[in-house]
Amino acid sequence: MTQFDGKGSQVTVGVPAGRLKPKRVRRNLDLTLWEKLYVFEIIRGMYVTTKHFALNMLGFVLPPRGKKRSVFTVYYPDEKVVLPPAYRGRPVLVMRPDGTERCVACGLCETACPGHAISIVGAERENGERYPLSYVLDMTRCVYCGFCEEVCPKEAIVMSSEYQGLAETDRSRMRYSKEQLLRSEESVKGRIEYIRRIYSKCNY
């Protein structure tokens, strides 16, 4: 039964707590003599941990098919994790084939960014085209929320799947200028397809 006029979001009045049929979790857990003695439960616990130990050690000798070893760890610097297409990594500016950036310095990403990480100075070329004279993205303020990619009307800035080489030993080197942000179209092609698919008309 909805509580108010039809159009509002459907928060119905459900079963009050009194008449709800709950599931009791505590009933059969009083300690039998078996559990009062510490020893047997400790042995059961050690069985679990030793099973993990044995399986993992075995995993080194004859690894399961398709994996190098059965242990869950990824040896990061040597092996990399396959990231899903949705992953939001570092924001990058997309470069047109002729080397100029797609961005027309409209400033939408600058307003939509919650952390005010982007600061743009727009300018016009002689043929009247707008382009960003300077485009500074402060990586110390960016929180990878993806709003800039979502609002950009020109697909000029996208969240690439790069996440390496960002750690620095001094903070001033983390304010990326236009040159550090530019990426060729091919390298972010996957991401652009992905954007077109998720924001396409069929989802509305």
Binding site: D5, K7, G8, S9, Q10, V11, T12, V13, G14, V15, A17, L20, K21, P22, K23, R24, V25, R26, L29, L31, E35, Y38, E41, I42, R44, G45, V48, T49, H52, F72, L83, P84, P85, A86, Y87, R88, C106, L108, T111, A112, P114, V143, Y144, C145, G146, F147, E150, V151, P153, E155, M159, I195, R196, I198, Y199, S200, K201, C202, N203, Y204
Partner: protein, 396 residues
């Protein structure tokens, strides 16, 4: 004995379990007055992670609040997103399509599984069971892979939008979920074997931090801690939002409200959440996931790229923000720690006038002195872990 104690003139030892202490996860200070090992008096001081959530919400548009809601209860970020989006939709009076409701329920339940796993793991870690902690961190890693496939980020998801979602379920999601749940159930049973019947663990958590039901209600307990006291109050059953009324799941309750009950309720809720996700994946309907109303939901990129009126309208809504009708609304959702309420006041402008979050773990932390009076100092550890106080949510 008392006359001997008189001239023993022993005075109490005051210990400062400061914010940077292993048990307080870095955001709470306990001022403990000790008589030997028993706690005479406990003063709790919070606010070490107060980051000005409400002030930042009031200075951004309605859309820019989403990244801030991720960081409230950062163990289950999607539930905060969905809660805020539902509150704004209730304020505006729009309703999202069916498929979007199902995907939101799936996202919420995945986040709840991650929340309960992290809490039980941290509880085990603080008591010394480091292996159980790492088994559940491994299980949570698998659940996070699902959330990363869905939303693009592991912790700060920023996935839900007002009137819809950012993107639809990726393909192959259902098959991967069933795989992940199979492994999660194996790890769940491992931790269950390690902890539930283990006399050492039971001794540490049984009859510690007990709370009778009426007092729990008076203190404002909600969520697993209230259900552990035997009160079957769950917002998903009391005021079912989205499609929870079509889901068949049970609400586990305990008996005495001590830490062992809280642990058991959370372990049971992990199973129930897995059941809900599987049912939701079965009944998932087709159709769009966003409401087609340009005033409240950014339009699709096809329109923006090709039509000039959509482009102009897109500029207007992004710069000024959407404008819900003036008014106020309160909506509660069931988060990992209890009832997470959003109280929104809108004055018709693009910025929220007031965006209040009712933090479920706030009253639980307030009741810590009541639970700890007269207990031993070592009892603070399991009690504080089992109420799952999250800095971002408690201090906002």
């Amino acid at each position: 004995m008392s006359e001997i104690a008189k001239d023993l003139h022993t005075e109490h030892m005051v210990i400062n379990m400061g914010p940077s202490h292993p048990v307080t996860h870095g955001t709470v200070k306990f001022l403990v007055t000790l008589d030997g090992e028993t706690i005479e008096d406990l003063k709790v001081e919070i606010g070490y992670l107060h980051r000005g959530f409400e002030k930042m919400c009031e200075s951004g548009t309605w859309y820019q609040v989403f990244p801030y809601t991720d960081r409230l209860n950062y163990v289950s970020p999607l539930i905060n997103n969905v809660g805020y989006a539902l509150a704004v939709e209730k304020l505006i009076g729009i309703d999202v399509p069916e498929r979007c409701k199902y995907v939101r329920v799936i996202a919420c339940e995945l986040s709840r599984i991650a929340d309960h796993m992290t809490n039980v793991a941290a509880g085990g870690l603080e008591l010394g069971a480091f292996t159980a902690f790492l088994y559940f961190v491994e299980a949570r890693e698998l659940v996070w892979d699902l959330i990363e496939m869905l939303c693009g980020a592991r912790v700060t998801t920023n996935y839900v939008r007002i009137g819809g979602l950012k993107n639809d379920l990726p393909d192959g999601f259902k098959q991967k979920t069933l795989e992940v749940f199979k492994r999660c159930r194996v790890l769940w049973s491992d931790v269950n074997k390690l902890l539930t019947k283990n006399r050492v663990f039971i001794d540490r958590v049984r009859d510690v931090g007990t709370m009778p039901a009426e007092e729990a209600i008076a203190y404002g307990f909600t969520g697993p801690c209230l259900r552990a006291c035997g009160v079957p109050y769950d917002v998903r059953k009391a005021n079912p939002y989205l499609v929870y009324d079509r889901m068949d799941f049970e609400v586990p309750i305990g008996e005495t409200g001590d830490n062992f009950d809280k642990y058991l309720v959370r372990m049971e809720e992990i199973n129930q959440s897995m059941r809900i996700v599987e049912q939701a994946l079965e009944q998932l309907p087709g159709g769009p996931i966003n409401v087609d109303m340009p005033y409240y939901r950014w339009q699709s990129k096809d329109d923006i790229y090709n039509r000039i009126d959509s482009l102009i309208f897109h500029f207007k809504t992004v710069i000024e923000g959407i404008k819900p009708p003036p008014g106020e609304v309160y909506l509660a959702v069931e988060s990992g720690n209890g009832e997470l309420g959003f109280y929104l006041v809108s004055d018709g402008s693009g910025k929220p006038y007031k965006c209040r979050v009712r933090p479920p773990c706030f009253p639980l932390t307030a009741a810590m002195p009541r639970m700890m009076k007269g207990r031993l100092i070592a009892d603070i550890v399991p009690t504080f872990d089992m109420i799952n106080m999250i800095g971002g949510e408690c201090d906002r």
